[in-house]
């Protein structure tokens, strides 16, 4: 009876212009061996009984057809891989060492560093054993495996030096464990030395890895096993067995001259932080690559707390935090491709995959040809916010979500699939298995909550408040129904190209939840408005947090959460600066750019049970707003709709000079009817008291606003995430639709406002 996901996929690019090629990667499950693929234009994903209905148009494209299906796996878990295997493959004697900060030492075998082939059980590696103690593992591939352990459990989240050496002549193995702080009664310092029976290591073909060991290859990529959770700093390899004192000397920077003949590799993670490259500072330059985006710019063992910015003291930020559940690029093989035809209209599209008992739609966006505008309106799809929430699974792991949202959590087949496939990774709202926060999210994997018709588990009873992609389709449906031409562009395009992407459009319309903005995106919108552009902010909680894209890390965004914002997890102390570009993270309001300065309002309140409506304010009768309310006599706006029953809801923004609102901002209407499950944003609650809920708290409201910008431009902000859910009511003939249409028509008119 319950539908099970049997087919999922993703694209290699999210936005494509005519002439570009989009690759589609597909994986099938539960015996699905064939599927039908069609390209569809998406208009509406509205499955609400009183809604606009599900609308899509099948296109005749060469990409359509029947394809063989098979399961493609995601190999989650981050590690480093060193490209050159030769220096490590025939080390007869050696030393392996690093500073580590393990987060789950009790979670079974976890590799720290070494050249070990798991399939062959051959090579050498320093690992954490099942007893949570560091151990050296030696294997000759003939079934002879030796382990030498300190037998003293590592302390969770405490820095510790670990080292292991092997002297091939004497067959003596030694493992050293020296915690940075030896706590009373902890007894975790150790040096264990013994002779082993094996002659291992002999030659090993496996690549040298850090935070995992080699477990074979798939699609030309090495797979890791025994992934480690925690930080590693200053991993070192030497070509002879060093004693404890010499191991300590080898941790120094620069490497002591006397040890240069012995050192094989000495990686310094404080270098090249914005990239996935790790640099070996030994003369051998055995650089490597980080796989699956472990966290960089992490505080190291010598972080003093005096410096918060990694760029000011990189030597204190030489740690990388690895996670067994990191994921960047699923790396699946391409199943079929679509070359975007020159005739393909800019819009929202999907590859519809049908396997008989299940189907999936992989959305992608077709933009106009580069440098060309094919309409006067640009619909700016908030993809950065899609990636921020990609595959979120908060409510399935946190028992307080029902009390938080005021109704039962409601799981879709997509939620159940993600629950049984944790390798599909996290959103920026989730926490890793080791309890640390997630700071990178990638689109290079199926993102199952970016689907038409798919709702979110904790927003609205029974999924009755579509949001993000599915809610943004309400805008697409309305534009189509009202006959407005529009180009579709995305946050990913805006970050890459900046102002030129939007310059020249008469108006730009946002999605319902454009929460995450990079600096380049913000600057582009600000510049556009300064040049007379017109912006229709069609959502709530917009322009809230700063993210970073990276040319060096395609397909991913980074968010360093700080101390004051709506969040599941704060960033760790000292780790508030993005590794991608060195910018301070967190909310724009705390970066000196409150969202009100851009759109006249800033985040005020959120709730997830029911939606309210707007009541007009005196500003709506100001002559400046006459064009907005032309033909609207109602005092109450939007007391209807398929998103929670009203146009003012979920997340709303307030006009407030302390949030940056310009002095001439015209408040047109304010929200009413929010329940006491609507709570103010935490940065407004520096002192907590009773009476915070929207019924008792005048600050916990949304304000619909309008204001003029220089050179004849203007901004209209609905300030509500549920606004667009009311557009289709009464066959698009209602006051929400009328106000939206009035504003759009005026904004498209180049006459200065």
């Amino acid at each position: 009876m319950i539908k099970h996901k049997k087919i999922v996929g993703y694209t290699d690019r999210i936005s494509a212009a005519p002439g570009d090629t989009v690759g589609f990667m597909v994986s099938c499950y539960d015996g699905v061996t064939r599927y039908r693929a069609d390209v569809v234009r998406l208009i509406s994903g509205d499955l609400h009984p009183e809604g606009a209905g599900f609308k899509e148009t099948v296109l005749d494209t060469p990409a359509a057809g029947d394809f063989p299906g098979r399961e493609q796996k995601i190999h989650a878990g981050s590690h480093a891989e060193i490209a050159d295997r030769t220096p490590f493959s025939a080390l007869s004697s050696f030393t392996l060492q690093a500073m580590i900060w393990p987060t789950t030492p009790q979670r079974g075998r976890q590799a720290l560093l070494g050249a070990w082939s798991e399939p062959e059980q051959r090579g050498y590696a320093l690992m954490i054993g099942d007893d949570a103690a560091p151990m050296l593992v030696l294997g000759d591939g003939q079934g002879n495996i030796e382990t030498v352990s300190t037998a003293k459990p590592l302390q969770e989240r405490k820095w510790c030096f670990v080292g292991a050496s092997f002297d091939a002549e004497t067959r003596t193995a030694c493992v050293v464990q020296v915690p940075s702080v030896e706590y009373p009664l902890a007894d975790s310092t150790a040096e264990v030395r013994r002779t082993v029976a094996t002659n291992a290591p002999v030659t090993v073909e496996a690549p040298f890895m850090i935070a995992a060991v080699y477990d074979g290859e798939t699609g030309g990529r090495a797979i890791g096993a025994h992934h480690y959770n925690g930080k590693i700093e200053s991993p070192r390899v030497a070509n002879r067995a060093l004693d404890r004192e010499t191991m300590t000397a080898l941790m120094q920077r620069p490497i002591p001259a006397g040890l240069l003949p012995a050192v094989v590799a000495a990686w310094d993670f404080s270098r090249a932080i914005p990239t996935v490259h790790i640099e070996d500072v030994s003369p051998n330059r055995l650089d490597g690559t980080l796989v699956n985006l472990p966290a960089r710019a992490m505080t190291g063992h010598a972080w003093t707390g005096e410096e918060m910015n990694w760029q000011h003291a990189p030597e204190q930020y030489g740690a990388v935090h690895f996670h067994e559940d990191d994921i960047h690029d699923a790396g699946w093989e391409v199943d079929f491709e679509l070359v975007i035809p020159e005739t393909m209209k800019s819009g929202v599209y999907a590859a519809r995959l049908a396997s008989g008992s299940d189907e999936d739609r992989i959305p992608f966006f077709v933009r106009p040809p580069r440098g060309v505008r094919t309409a006067d309106l640009a619909l700016l799809i908030p993809t950065a916010s899609y990636w921020a929430y990609a595959n979120e699974h908060m409510a399935i792991e946190a028992s307080d979500y029902e009390a938080f949202s005021g109704h039962l959590t409601s799981l879709n087949p997509e939620d159940l699939f993600l629950n049984s496939h944790p390798e599909f990774g996290h959103s920026l709202y989730d926490v890793f298995t080791d309890g640390s926060g997630v700071c990178y999210s990638s689109r290079l994997r199926p993102v199952l909550n970016m689907r038409p018709g798919v709702t979110i588990s904790w927003v609205g009873l029974g999924g009755n408040m579509p949001w993000q992609f599915n809610a943004d389709l309400h805008i697409v449906d309305w534009l189509e129904a009202m006959g407005h031409d529009y180009d579709v562009i995305t946050d990913d395009d805006l970050d890459a190209e900046g102002l030129p992407l939007i310059d020249g459009y008469h108006a730009v319309m946002t999605g319902t939840h454009p929460e995450y903005y990079s600096t380049r995106m913000w600057d582009a919108v600000e510049a556009y408005l300064g040049r007379g552009g017109r912006l229709m902010y069609m959502g709530g909680n917009g322009f809230y947090s700063r993210v970073a894209y990276s040319d060096a890390v395609p397909g991913a965004i980074e968010l360093r959460r700080t101390e004051v914002e709506f969040r599941e997890k704060s960033g760790a102390p000292g780790e508030y600066y993005h590794s991608f570009n060195g910018e301070y993270g967190g909310i724009w309001r705390r970066i000196g750019r409150p969202p009100g300065g851009l759109v006249g309002v800033g985040m005020a309140v959120e709730g997830f049970d029911i939606c309210g409506y707007y009541r007009r304010k005196p500003g709506s009768h100001d002559p400046r707003a006459a064009f907005i309310f032309d033909g609207v006599d109602d005092d109450i706006i939007g007391n209807f709709g398929v998103v929670g029953g009203g146009a003012a809801g979920i997340e709303l923004d307030r006009c407030d000079t302390s949030l940056g609102s310009p002095p001439h901002t015209l408040v047109l209407a304010s929200s009413e009817g929010l329940s006491n499950h609507y709570f103010p944003t935490v940065e407004d609650c520096l002192v907590v008291s009773s009476g915070l809920g929207a019924m008792d708290n005048p600050q916990a409201r949304g304000d619909m606003v309008f204001f003029e910008t220089p050179n004849g431009g203007g901004v209209f902000s609905t300030s509500s995430m549920s606004w667009s859910g009311s557009l289709s009511h009464n066959n698009y003939d209602n006051n929400v639709s009328r106000i939206t249409d009035n504003v759009l028509r005026r904004f498209l008119d180049p006459t200065p406002l």
């Binding site: 699974h393 399935i396 792991e397 028992s399 029902e402 005021g406 039962l408 799981l411 087949p413 029911i610």
Partner: protein, 99 residues
């Protein structure tokens, strides 16, 4: 600490009439306890047909562990499922059965 008063049938009726949305302060205080049901076994809805049909499920609280799905009863109104879960929790919390 607040304890549920099993004689407050007025709050039960208020919930039954309007399980989601604004509630009286007394009902909200009660729901703070009722909805804080811990793992494992916390009730959730499982969507069968979007916006139209649901069954109940129970969570383990551990990602990757299967969600227990209770397919014996299909709800065509999510509010009815809210009431059914409330009844079950009320029995567990107070020992009393609600019709």
């Amino acid at each position: 600490m607040y304890k549920i008063d099993p004689t407050r049938m007025d709050l039960v009726e208020e919930f039954r009439a309007n399980p989601v949305g604004n509630h009286s302060a007394d009902l909200q205080q009660m729901l703070n306890v009722v909805r804080a049901e811990p793992f494992p076994g916390k009730y959730v809805l499982i969507c069968v047909k979007p916006h139209r049909e649901w069954v109940l499920g129970r969570l383990s609280g551990v990602r990757g562990d299967p969600v227990e799905i209770l397919e014996d009863r299909v709800f065509t109104r999510a509010e009815d499922a809210e009431w059914e879960v409330f009844r079950r929790r009320w029995k567990a919390l107070t020992g009393e059965c609600l019709d």
